[in-house]
Subunit: 355 residues, 2 copies
C-alpha cells in the first residue's frame, strides 16, 4: 500500500528525549506518552498547517465545547516493529475511514487523507525508537479530534483540534475475563451514535461496568436496548461466539462499531475455512449452547485487546463457565493476526503499511 | 430557603473588570463570560480547597479523559435581579440534586452541597454587577464537571474538576420555532444516559439537528428509539402538548431529563387549575389532534429557553401549522414563572433563593 505524504508539517523537536526514563517492561496501558504529538487545527472552515511538537498540555477555555457537549471522537491503532527493525501500521485506511464516519455523525469536519496519513507517518517515524521489538510490544496510536470552540450554547463548534498521541504498550488485559450480559443498561440507541467512536459512548458505559466489576466481572456484553435479547458488543471490543465450529458475531449497524480487528478476524477465519455468520446472536442461544454443549468459546476483538478470550459469562444471576478448548479459535486467530501484524507471516491481504 | 455557606474558598480577584467593554444590549447566548470562575478539584478520593479566580483558560494533558471518553456533566441555571437590585437564584437545590444524579450515572464523584452552594453564592455575589435589571436579562450559570485525569484507557478518571462559569444573557431563542419529529435518529436508549445531563447527550444531537436545520426546522422533537411513536423531549428542552385544555408531557424516565423548568411549569399549571397529565404522548395523538382541532399548542421548556412556543411541526414530510391561541398556556405559564423568578409575583412555592 502506498501512502500519500506531504512535507508540509512544522516540526519542533524536544531538546532531550525522555525515552531513557521509561521502564518498557512495566507499562500501564495508555499511561506513558512519547516525546512528540501531532496537532492540526480546524477553524474558519478549513484545516490549518499541521505541527509535530513536544508532547505537552495545552490551554482551553472553560467554555470549550468539548467540556460541555462532548463533541469528541477518536481512533485506536497500533504500530509494530518487525525482526528487521522496520515499523508497520495495520490497516490505517480503515481507521481514517471510520474516523471520518464518526466525524460526520458528530457534526465535525472530516480529516483529509494527506493530513491524517502524513501526520501518522512522520510522527511515528520520529518516534520509531519507542516501538520495541517483540510479540506483544506495540506503540498504541491515539488519533482524536475535539471541539475547541468556546461558548455554552448547545450547537456544533466551528473550531476543532485533531491530534495524534502515541503510547508504548504491552498487552491490554491481564488475567481471566469474565463478562456480565446486560439486562438493564445499554450502550446505544437505534438512531443513536453507537457506530461512531464518539467519546460519549465510553463514559456512558463506566457506571454499569463499575457495577459489573463490583460483582467480579471485567466487562459487560451489551444487548439491544429495547429487548435485551440480542448480543451486541463489549465495552472496548466487538464480541465473537463459537457455536460448534461456526463463528458468530453481530452485524455492524448504527448501534455497533465497525471494528478493524473484527473485520480482520472475519477475513482470516474465512481464509482458514472457518464458517462465519454475521447475524444477530441471541442471549438464549448462549444459554441453549451451554446446556447442549454447543457453545465452545466467546472472545472479544479490538485494537487494544487484540483477541481476548472470555472464560465465562453471567446472565440472570447464573454464571456459565465456558469449556477450555484445545483448538481455540480465539487463540488460533490471534496467532494468525499478530503474525501478520509483526510481519512474521505473509500478509496476503495487503493490510500492513510500512512507516 | 437557607443555604449552608462556607468561607473556605480562596478568592483571587481580577485587577480590572472587563464589564465596561461588554455590550449588554447585544449578547449572543453563552458567548460572554464574567470576570471570575469557581474551580474545585477532586483527586486522591476527595474534593480539595475551592477557588474563585479570574476567568481564564487552563491547561489539560492531551490524554485527559474528558477528551477521549466524554466523562463530563453540566447544569444550566440562571440568576435574576429584582426591582430592589437584589439577585436571586431559582431552585438551585434541584440543580444540585440533578447534577449529583448525573455524577453517579457517569461514574463521577458527587459534589458536596456546601461546595456547590457556597461556590454559587460567593461567585455570584462577586459578579452581581453582571446581573442586569429588566425582564429577559439574566445571568446564565453553568456549573460543570469534567474528568481531568490522564491516560487513554477506557476507565473512569480518578481526577475531576468542578467549575462554575457565568454568562450574562438575553433570551435564548429568537424567531419562530418549527420542529421536526424524529423518525430515524434518537437521543437516548433505554438503560442509557438520557436522564443525565451528560455532555455526550448533546453532541449526539448535533448532526440530526443540523439535518433538521437544513430543512428549515430549529429543533428536533425526539421519539423513543424502538418505535419512534412516543414523543420524548427536544434538544435542550422538555416538551409540552396542549390537547383541548389538558397539558401533556412525557413522564421523566431514564431516557428523559428531569427538567427544573418542566417540573416548575407542572406545579404552576396545577395551581392555576390546568389539568396536567404526565404520560407518554404519541405522535399519532398530535396528528389526530391536528385533524380534529383538539391540538392547541406545543411548547418547549428549559432553563435557557424558559418557555418556547412552537409554531408547527413536521412529521412524515407533512408540515402541521399550529393555531394561534389567544389564551396560550405557554405564554400564561411563562409569564407566571418569570414573574416569580424576577420577584414580581409572590413565590408561594419557596423556589427563589437570595444571593
Amino acid at each position: 500500500m502506498s501512502v500519500k505524504t506531504t512535507n508540509e508539517i512544522d516540526i519542533v523537536k524536544v531538546a532531550q528525549s525522555k525515552i531513557a526514563s521509561v521502564d518498557f517492561d512495566n507499562l500501564a496501558f495508555g499511561a506513558t506518552f512519547t516525546d512528540h504529538m501531532f496537532v492540526c487545527d480546524f477553524r474558519e472552515g478549513k484545516w490549518h498547517k499541521p505541527q509535530i511538537k513536544p508532547y505537552e498540555p495545552f490551554l482551553l477555555d472553560p467554555s470549550a465545547k468539548v467540556f460541555h457537549y462532548g463533541q469528541a471522537i477518536f481512533e485506536g491503532m497500533k504500530a509494530y516493529k518487525d525482526e528487521a527493525g522496520d515499523v508497520w501500521l495495520f490497516r490505517p485506511d480503515q481507521n481514517l475511514d471510520r474516523l471520518n464516519k464518526s466525524a460526520v455523525r458528530m457534526a465535525m469536519p472530516e480529516i483529509p487523507e494527506d493530513i491524517f496519513m502524513s501526520g501518522l507517518h512522520q510522527l511515528i517515524d520520529l518516534e520509531r525508537e519507542w516501538v520495541k521489538f517483540g510479540l506483544g510490544n506495540t506503540l498504541y496510536i491515539r488519533p482524536f479530534m475535539i471541539a475547541i470552540g468556546s461558548g455554552v450554547v448547545a450547537a456544533p463548534s466551528t473550531q476543532f483540534r485533531f491530534m495524534i498521541i502515541l503510547s508504548p504498550a504491552k498487552a491490554y488485559y491481564s488475567g481471566e475475563v469474565k463478562v456480565l450480559i446486560a439486562e438493564h443498561y445499554s450502550r446505544a440507541a437505534n438512531g443513536g451514535i453507537g457506530a461512531a467512536k464518539a467519546a460519549g459512548n465510553y463514559s456512558a458505559q463506566f457506571y454499569p461496568t463499575k457495577l459489573a466489576n463490583e460483582k467480579g466481572f471485567q466487562q459487560v456484553i451489551w444487548t439491544d436496548d429495547a429487548t435485551h435479547t440480542k448480543l451486541e458488543e463489549a465495552g472496548t471490543m466487538n464480541v465473537f461466539f463459537r457455536i460448534n465450529d461456526t463463528l458468530l458475531t453481530a452485524p455492524t449497524s448504527e448501534r455497533i462499531l465497525d471494528g478493524v480487528t473484527r473485520k480482520s478476524l472475519i477475513a482470516l477465519a474465512k481464509r482458514e475455512g472457518i464458517k462465519v455468520e454475521e447475524r444477530s446472536v441471541l442471549v438464549s442461544e448462549l444459554i441453549e449452547g451451554m446446556k447442549d454443549g454447543s457453545l465452545k468459546e466467546i472472545f472479544g476483538a479490538g485494537t487494544a485487546a487484540v483477541v481476548n478470550p472470555i472464560v465465562g459469562f453471567s446472565y440472570q444471576d447464573t454464571y456459565y463457565e465456558l469449556p477450555k478448548m484445545a483448538d481455540s479459535f480465539a487463540l488460533q486467530l490471534k496467532d494468525k493476526l499478530t503474525k501478520i501484524q509483526y510481519k512474521l507471516a505473509e500478509d496476503t491481504f495487503g493490510w500492513t503499511v510500512k512507516i
